[in-house]
């Protein structure tokens, strides 16, 4: 029963999508199935996580082919944590989207595609095979293309062209990197690659391959020179879609980087410097980009880029404390970014506009909702003891002990910029006097929605804010998880042993 536990999250999402496809026209069924499926997914993910926590890394060999030959699925603490976070954000977004997305979009298969996206995410987190990772990336990409274009508005299509081109380019570069790596080692299993890459004499070629991987993943993770597609496309689809994109899609790139650069390519000085420079520039440019934007969702898009910089910096510093900080930040960031985009969707529903300048008076109109949003925004900035604060301590102390003052400066600078941006947003959206907006006909304002719909929109935001609060106040437990993940990543022998020496068979 527990031997194939690793692939249960995948099977669950696959079955959900198939069931949802069978009820193509019955939107109300799809809503129920999606939300119930979300709860089941969380249960499975918690089961997987607690099992991994007690028993260590688990593997499943597809078709019972022994390790370096077949496709392996591996769940270590890192994967299990991310699967759990995917389940949490997935549930929140499916509840939010069932209320906020118009029926015309839902009729064209929004929910099945959404669950395919979650399937791809889970697959990317759980696979232990580099080509299989490419395939999961493509599943994520195809689903996200459909989600980003569904509805076919002008801005959406323009954003989609840019999103599409750069992501395809990223995949092609990733595929090229796999080709070179296969040519060098003759293996695709990540644990096996880890052993074989260490033996290669020609270090120049290894570095080039590593850079190809860095560029491929960098496009997905939206790091400094490669992020231009993100702010152009993330604000165009409905905010529920942006929520899952902002929360999880870029993080898959970060996950892949953390995995590949700790397991396969142990960074030498050249790679570490490259990663650190990228992290520095990402922190600065994302923050400055967010400062000048007026569209609320574009501000949040730039904040995604800025905060990716923290995780890359953690990887670049390459000490156990720094990686633990990066993991903690990843956990915090997935929850908070999903929440942010849902909040922007909620504000859009209330106000009917995305422009910060024409908003105002939200606090006097809706004090309770404003209080809720305030908690989420404070967590984002990292006011102690909320969740954004703790990972920054780890990152700062790691960069202090590495005596890397550039990164110390960039981390502090990015925190301040985030604070400035959030206070600007707060002052303009919540405290400024109300700006009279022209009423939009046929627009479903928030106060016109039914109570069920409203609770479906507020509910996930409350839920994710509670998770954020838990991450903040239960920081000790999260720190334990991230330290253990960092330990497993830095001492990758355990991962390799679990994959290659396992004699576990199917019963």
């Amino acid at each position: 029963m527990t031997q194939q536990l690793v692939i249960y999250p995948l099977l669950l999402q696959l079955f959900l999508s198939i069931i949802l496809m069978f009820s193509w026209k019955k939107i109300s069924w799809q809503r129920i199935i999606s939300i119930v499926g979300g709860f089941v997914n969380i249960a499975v993910a918690i089961w997987l996580f607690s099992y991994i926590w007690e028993n260590g890394t688990q593997t499943v060999q597809a078709g019972n082919w022994p390790a370096p030959f077949g496709i392996t699925f591996v769940a270590d603490t890192f994967s299990a944590t991310l699967v759990l976070l995917t389940a949490i954000s997935g549930l929140a977004v499916s509840s939010f989207s069932s209320a906020s997305i118009v029926v015309a979009r839902l009729k064209f298969g929004y929910f099945p595609i959404f669950h395919f996206l979650l399937l791809g995410l889970n697959g990317a987190f759980l696979t232990g095979d580099i080509f299989n990772l490419y395939v999961w990336f493509e599943i994520i990409l195809i689903s996200s293309f459909v989600l980003i274009t569904l509805g076919g508005e002008k801005a959406q299509l323009e954003g989609a062209v840019k999103y599409f081109t750069l992501n395809i380019l990223g995949s092609t570069i990733f595929l090229t990197a796999i080709a070179v790596l296969y040519g060098l080692t003759g293996s695709l299993n990540m644990a096996d690659l880890s052993l074989k890459v260490a033996l290669i004499e020609n270090r120049g070629l290894v570095d080039i391959t590593a850079i190809l991987f860095l560029v491929g993943f960098g496009i997905k993770a939206a790091v400094f020179p490669l992020y231009f597609w993100l702010p152009d496309s993330y604000h165009t689809p409905p905010s529920a879609v942006s929520a899952i994109f902002g929360g999880l899609l870029t993080k898959v790139g970060v996950y892949a980087m953390l995995r590949v650069f700790t397991l396969i390519f142990v960074p030498d000085e050249f790679l570490i410097n490259t990663i650190l420079i990228i992290a520095f520039l990402t922190l600065i440019s994302g923050g400055l980009g967010a400062l000048i934007q007026n569209n609320l969702r574009k501000v949040f898009s730039y904040l995604i880029i800025c905060h990716i910089g923290y995780m890359i910096a953690g990887l670049g510093l390459y000490t156990q404390v720094a990686i633990a900080g990066a993991i903690f930040y990843l956990i915090h960031d997935i929850v908070i970014k999903t929440n942010l985009f849902m909040i922007s969707g909620l504000i859009y529903r209330i106000k009917g506009t995305n422009s910060i300048r024409s908003m105002g008076g939200l606090y006097s109109d809706n004090p309770k909702i404003s209080f809720l949003i305030a908690i989420a925004l404070f967590s984002l900035v990292g006011i102690p003891p909320l969740s954004g604060f703790w990972p920054k301590i780890s990152l700062l102390s790691a960069s202090f002990s590495a005596e890397n003052w550039w990164i110390v400066g960039a981390i502090l600078f990015a925190s301040f910029i985030t604070l400035i941006i959030i206070s600007k947003v707060w002052a303009n959206v919540f405290w400024k006097d109300k700006v009279e907006l022209p009423k939009r006909l046929n627009f479903r304002y928030f106060h016109k929605l039914t109570t069920v719909k409203r609770s479906q929109m507020i509910g996930p935001i409350v839920f994710l804010t509670l998770v954020s609060l838990y991450i903040g106040f239960g920081a000790e437990q999260i720190q334990q998880v991230s330290s253990r993940v960092a330990d497993e990543l830095m001492n990758n022998q355990q991962y390799i042993d679990a994959v290659l020496n396992n004699n576990q068979t199917y019963n």
Binding site: V135, L141, T149, F164, T165, V180, D232, S355
Partner: protein
């Protein structure tokens, strides 16, 4: 073979850098083909020796063609085929809605809103 791959990569990237949407898609297709051929080449081409173990032995007797790159290319071709058909529909829709195939004119979302 190596030269062909180089030419395909160069042509693909050149086409992607053009402003026209159609050339963009062509560039992506060419680049994808280049990547597929690269896997094929780097997998090591062996002529005329299929990876079949003779009935009277348990191991391979001579050098054999590695089947893995072919499986990889097949997967990659299928994936890129799907993506390309999606891309063609996407540019058709984008052309109909935006009324231009020039990427420089697709800048409405950059305007302040």
């Amino acid at each position: 073979m190596a030269i062909i791959i180089g030419v395909l990569y160069a042509a693909g990237i050149y086409m992607i850098l053009r402003r026209s949407l159609v050339k963009l898609i062509l560039g992506i297709i060419i680049l994808g083909n280049g990547a597929n051929l690269l896997i094929f080449l780097l997998g090591g081409i062996t002529k005329g020796s299929p990876p079949i173990i003779p009935g009277d032995s348990n191991v391979f007797l001579s050098a054999y063609a590695d089947p893995v790159p072919q499986a990889l290319i097949l997967t990659a071709i299928v994936i890129s085929f799907g993506l390309q058909s999606f891309a063609i529909i996407l540019i058709k829709r984008a052309y109909q809605v935006v009324k231009t195939d020039d990427l420089d004119e697709m800048n409405e979302i950059d305007q302040d809103s």
